[in-house]
Symmetry: D2
Subunit: 247 residues, 4 copies
Amino acid sequence: MRILLSNDDGYFAPGIAALVKAVSDLATVTVVAPEQDRSGASNSLTLDRPLSLRRAANGFYFVNGTPTDCVHLAVTGMLDERPDMVLSGINLGANMGDDTIYSGTVAAATEGYLLGVPAVAVSLVGKHGEHFETAARVARELVQRFQRQDFGGPVLLNVNVPDVPYEELKGLRVTRLGRRHKAEPVVKQLSPRGETVYWVGPAGEAADAGESTDFHAVAEGYASVTPLQIDLTHTAQIGAAWEWLKA
Amino acid sequence: MRILLSNDDGYFAPGIAALVKAVSDLATVTVVAPEQDRSGASNSLTLDRPLSLRRAANGFYFVNGTPTDCVHLAVTGMLDERPDMVLSGINLGANMGDDTIYSGTVAAATEGYLLGVPAVAVSLVGKHGEHFETAARVARELVQRFQRQDFGGPVLLNVNVPDVPYEELKGLRVTRLGRRHKAEPVVKQLSPRGETVYWVGPAGEAADAGESTDFHAVAEGYASVTPLQIDLTHTAQIGAAWEWLKA
Amino acid sequence: MRILLSNDDGYFAPGIAALVKAVSDLATVTVVAPEQDRSGASNSLTLDRPLSLRRAANGFYFVNGTPTDCVHLAVTGMLDERPDMVLSGINLGANMGDDTIYSGTVAAATEGYLLGVPAVAVSLVGKHGEHFETAARVARELVQRFQRQDFGGPVLLNVNVPDVPYEELKGLRVTRLGRRHKAEPVVKQLSPRGETVYWVGPAGEAADAGESTDFHAVAEGYASVTPLQIDLTHTAQIGAAWEWLKA
Amino acid sequence: MRILLSNDDGYFAPGIAALVKAVSDLATVTVVAPEQDRSGASNSLTLDRPLSLRRAANGFYFVNGTPTDCVHLAVTGMLDERPDMVLSGINLGANMGDDTIYSGTVAAATEGYLLGVPAVAVSLVGKHGEHFETAARVARELVQRFQRQDFGGPVLLNVNVPDVPYEELKGLRVTRLGRRHKAEPVVKQLSPRGETVYWVGPAGEAADAGESTDFHAVAEGYASVTPLQIDLTHTAQIGAAWEWLKA
């Protein structure tokens, strides 16, 4: 089995090292990750310049681009054989609810899925990253499950794991994405040159954290597994849109 | 009525100038757009540094960030009053099918939608941008329709307009997103310093361009209007995922 | 006569518009300037990716690179004929003393000089840029002087003009670069995500502002004209270095 | 003794690792280097956003900025005590002659010098970096010399070492900077999207490689040591400039 690993925190991040360690005895592992921290990169793709690929002392490859660039370049040009799985992470911080659309971690997995490779994004829900090994072990178990049994079709899983010791993890739950309230306003600061600058503020609080959501599962102490797809069509509004256009 | 305009081609692009011209007599218009061309930016959000906001000679504001940054900053920190609509575009080039997830044009509108503002992304389907005025007129008509009749709820419309004279446009069609085949492989070049560099290749051909899709509508000469949402949950796979996890 | 204009504040900056206006009846003028504000870019040259060249609605060309990139690209690849002069500016803010080595404005002129073209960098000494027309008129006069009489060899002039009405300007003075005291320390701020970030602080106060310096000339109300060269060898230390190495 | 190390190839580059290894038993060593390869950065300083400082697994600090930013931040805000020396490198590739003004390696050392710290920039003259240990040993010997005998004043040394085994090195020579012929033209390529892009071309051949120059010393098999200063005033032209202005 061949696994392609990527992330959005950069190739030097502790999360990806933990992921490599967790799965490297299960498969042939290649790391292709961004040169820099690209958190918040979403599915951003670099079109206005070519990408460079380099190899670090530890054997990891890094690209001067986005998470999506990394997986795209690896699968369509660098690797001799198509990987059997794309693993992205372990992100330091949750990727749940609406935030998923901003996530570079999820985007790296999404690019694998779009290119026909089963893909899993793994995030650790916490600020300080105390238990990467818990998320790493969840990732390992998912890989082993894939090895035992194919999912039976294209699949893109968004996994969020509470930042607790593995023994305290209550199990896995399949969830849907929750919803957040609107983001907090931008935070203004004054630069030393007297110019106002604006920091993007924190995400909003959970607005829909109902029982079947990722927010709820994690709050209850479970690892959340959400199957994703990439069709943004609002099917339920198609009729209303026709009505409105005719109005 | 107050309209916030943005795009991903940069505040200096002809597409946004055409859009401003088309709607400025209908509403109070504020332009907040990226300083640089940020095509392919997706929903990328800048978290590792603050943003600067400047004003160009023509009154347009520009931000050293992504399309999402622009709308986020404008709505949550800069504008005194919440806009009644976010208009994004006119993008030079289609944003249809799977490509929608990479689009900065759609992302700017999506950020408006997430912040509770009705939003429309407008793209001109063509390489050379010969008929921006056609897409501008379609945008104007949609704004007028909003003024006559509220959509009746949150709405995010992805509009793709054929690059033809307005008289040749056959009308509007409400569509779903089509699907593409996998992207073409990366294109390798050699830099003058002897290093291999990799350009992201062209998007794949349409794989699902069935009758109800955006691809089909545009190919037939219609402007395509796709209502979007942002929940990526693959609802149909939730049962299968439970089964698989238990296996 | 053909003049190439560039700057480091970006092609949209008021300073370069003032410069174009001041000299466009004297020569054929081509503007090739950075897409973004690149203040502080020094002689930075982009080696890890290719550059793109675009044309704005007003006819100015812009490049996704540094001031040095702009002049380098224009002279060695874009312009059909070598320009007779490179003009850089008008920078908003002084480029005097030690700061000259950080300046993108001076760097654009330096690149012209290195490529064999007489070059002049023009900066307006002030924070608010109230009298660009004064610096523009000084630039115009220097161009006219070049037209009347060649400098008689390669030349790189660093011009700093007080931000006063032209009538209050006392004249021109040829100067040497002064020296500054050490820069102020970096300024720490806390990001909304709780991370410490560091802004480069203000430049130090003038340490050597003696009579023949640029600092002194400007303080006295004169435009300062400093001829520059680019050989950084500390000739006076060569003997001492030999002694030290033998020690 | 406390040494601050930086470079322009990035904190992960083999050259800086070799340098750390060579001097870490002689002094307390702190590495603060750019997050990314910033070759060609010159004295570029980041003024439009704050900088972030992070620590890698191996204890090296890295900054999302330029070589100059790194030294500036370390000396004026991060280190508790002023370092006794700044060492920059080992650069992969020469920094000789006119190229010195583009060099980020030299710039990191220059920033130390401007802040009052003796500074040495070390470059390995070759394309493939086969003998970093030779340059590392030269750097070590210079540090030991500083420890035995102070230079007796502010000093900024630009050191270029041939890429040969240490036994083949003929010794050290104090030199002046040579001169190059004009750079080669930009190299045009066509992107897969049909746009012309421009790579900065190779540096010109040596034009002045006379006996006392850095070019000559290295060609003869010596390590070149050039004392630098940062006053760009063209003193010899001051009279001519007065004449010309009066003309």
